[in-house]
């Protein structure tokens, strides 16, 4: 019995340790005080207004959002096609390609970041938004491939064979049968990709062109001067986006699934 109590206490403490910082940010975002810390003096939205007026932050937010969306689009498109090839076809070098696609998860991000940078230097390609997008897509790709592959393995190939026997060519079969059945995984994969890109800081610091900031690098930059209450508000916005978007998407998916049957 005592042991159980201890385990419960321990579990509780672990959760406190994990979520307290997030709770603190969420709380302090609404603190009316001048300083980004305790004590809480009163409730106010002023830091959110300040945030909206801060051009640098708004620019960073726009960059992050478009980078996230494009990363989701790119890594999902490539990930779906790669998964199809890996699951549905037999060819030489398949294991090698699988390893290569998954390896960005295993390689420390700093190493990956420096590696890509050196490679591009060697090719004399300057840093740009497009390269940042490429980098983020490489980081997000393994997650998309893993999610999509898992689902694709579960889709019996008889569905595709039936479609083809009925007269659909391979492309028509993909769009009318495979993709719709794959949709939940495509959806989940692109959410993953978006979140991964939106959160990323380590690799982004290496890859971004001079003068370009994403939300995480912007916060990082601001923190070097002082902990401004604006940062708490920005933290709040980030948490809402990275937690809220997947939750909302999950809810929507369930809603549509229920409407269908």
């Amino acid at each position: 019995m005592r042991a159980w109590k201890l385990i419960r206490l321990y579990t509780f403490l672990v959760y406190v340790f994990m979520f307290a910082p997030i709770a603190v940010v969420l709380l302090l975002a609404f603190n009316s005080s001048q300083f980004g810390g305790f004590p809480i003096e009163g409730f106010s939205l002023r830091w959110f207004y300040r945030l909206a007026e801060n051009e640098a932050i708004m620019r960073a937010l726009k960059t992050s959002l478009s980078l996230g969306l494009l990363t989701a689009l790119a890594s999902t498109s490539i990930g779906v096609l790669a998964s199809l090839a890996l699951v549905r076809y037999r060819f030489r070098g398949k294991d090698l390609i699988t390893t290569l696609l998954i390896s960005p998860v295993l390689v420390p991000e700093t190493v990956l970041a420096v590696g890509l940078l050196i490679f591009l230097r060697w090719l004399h390609v300057p840093r740009s938004f497009l390269l940042l997008l490429l980098g983020h897509s490489i980081i997000a790709l393994p997650f998309v491939v893993l999610v999509v592959q898992a689902r694709l393995v579960g889709i019996k190939k008889e569905y595709e064979e039936a479609a083809r026997s009925l007269g659909a060519n391979p492309v028509q079969t993909f769009f009318s049968v495979t993709l719709p059945l794959l949709m939940p995984a495509v959806f989940a994969g692109s959410l993953f990709a978006f979140t991964i890109s939106f959160d990323n800081i380590t690799a982004t610091i290496f890859w971004r062109p001079t003068g370009m900031e994403t939300v995480p690098t912007q916060i990082f930059g601001m923190l070097r001067n002082s902990v401004s209450p604006e940062i708490n508000a920005l933290g709040f916005v980030m948490i809402v986006i990275t937690v809220g978007v997947p939750l909302m998407a999950g809810g929507l998916a369930r809603y549509f699934a229920r409407k269908k049957t």
Binding site: A162, R164, S165, L166, G167, N169, V177, T261
Partner: protein, 359 residues
């Protein structure tokens, strides 16, 4: 509608030879069954005709035209799978209409054809449901409707009834055969179930280990098995070694250790290649158990019942005659014989066949 022909068709997967030199024709409008145990290459043959696998060697002809290089979506075939493979994200109506979309059929015609197809499989009015809302038997009917609505040249069915439970399976096989007969589509049916094959087919191709064992009408394959594999695969058979003592144009006389000499009609004797020994095959259903003192005019010998497998109307007996055990499947009128009973084991010479000894 068109016949199908396989010429020297062979298929290997790496080192495994799944199908060996197949030479066979599937007549236009006929219902042909590929029958054999699991792994003998039935599905592989069907998939080659469908265009889902390319033959390693040989030619496949549909309606007299070689189709080896024609991709599956241009072959105009109906395909029915064991697990139905209805598109789960589409309604029944959309499932059936799927193939029509690729065939320049107008919207109103599509609706009419879908309705007609549902009438044929006796499931009218389920257009707006989803596959998951139908039972297994209903889903298989829809799969059939989806395959025939495109008016395929050939209908390919891979164990379509195997996933259904026993009662439904028998009902569906009657219905499937009736539908096939009505629309007259050339059909190739794959099964490992001999009773299905016997009940439905115009022609049966018995397969084992990638090789054709016998091709013929159901009664031919059943009554005159070409070899021991066929004799045993289509129900239980008793097989005994015999010596040929004399032969003329119409009959052949063989000596058996248990039943003395038997005169078998020539038509029931396979080519023995001049050998003086052979194997006599008697189906379990053709072996009769009589009271120990009775005689009914057939060949007979005394025996002892060793075990009884009671199956309701029918009993399967294991009887010992001399040093060999025989199987007999008999209708029961009155009481079945009990284990240990002495009986007379009898059969008619014209119900036997003689096969060469396989090396």
């Amino acid at each position: 509608m068109a016949g199908v022909e396989l010429k020297n068709v062979k298929k290997s997967f790496g080192l495994i030879t799944a199908v060996q030199d197949m030479n066979v024709t599937f007549d236009e409008g006929s219902f042909t069954t590929l029958l054999g145990p699991s792994g003998c290459g039935k599905t592989t043959i069907l998939r080659m005709v469908a265009g889902l696998e390319a033959p390693t060697d040989g030619d496949i002809l549909v309606g007299g035209t070689r189709v080896n290089e024609v991709p599956i979506h241009k072959r105009n075939l109906g395909l029915v799978f064991q697990n139905y493979a209805l598109f789960p994200h589409r309604t029944i109506g959309q499932n059936i209409a799927f193939g029509l979309k690729y065939r320049n059929v107008s919207k109103s015609d599509i609706a009419d054809k879908v309705k007609a197809a549902l009438d044929i499989v006796r499931l009218p009015g389920v257009e707006d449901r989803y596959p998951s809302q139908l039972s297994g038997g209903q889903q298989q009917r829809i799969a059939l409707a989806r395959a025939i609505v495109i008016e395929p040249d050939v209908l390919l069915l891979d164990e379509p009834l195997s996933a259904l439970d026993a009662n439904l399976r028998e009902e569906m096989r009657v219905e499937l055969k009736a539908i096939q007969h009505r629309i007259g589509v050339t059909s190739i049916f794959v099964t490992h179930d001999q009773s299905e094959a016997l009940a439905m087919s115009d022609k049966i191709i018995v397969m084992s280990a990638g090789k054709m064992q016998q091709v013929g009408a159901p009664e031919e394959v059943y009554n005159s098995p070409a070899n021991e594999f066929v004799a045993n695969f289509l129900g239980a058979s008793n097989i005994l070694d015999v010596t040929v003592t004399s032969a003329d144009n119409r009959t052949i006389v063989v000596q058996t250790p248990q039943f003395g000499t038997i005169t078998v009609p020539r038509a029931r004797v396979a080519d023995l290649h001049g050998a003086k020994t052979g194997r006599l095959v008697v189906r379990a259903e053709k072996l009769r158990l009589l009271e120990a003192t009775a005689h009914d005019g057939g060949v007979s010998a005394p025996g002892t019942v060793e075990a009884v497998d009671y199956q309701g109307q029918i009993a399967r007996y294991f009887v010992r005659v001399g040093d060999a055990q025989f199987q007999a499947m008999n209708m029961i009128d009155g009481r079945p014989f009990e284990a240990g009973t002495g009986v007379q084991v009898a059969f008619n010479p014209q119900d036997c066949s003689v096969l060469p000894i396989e090396s």
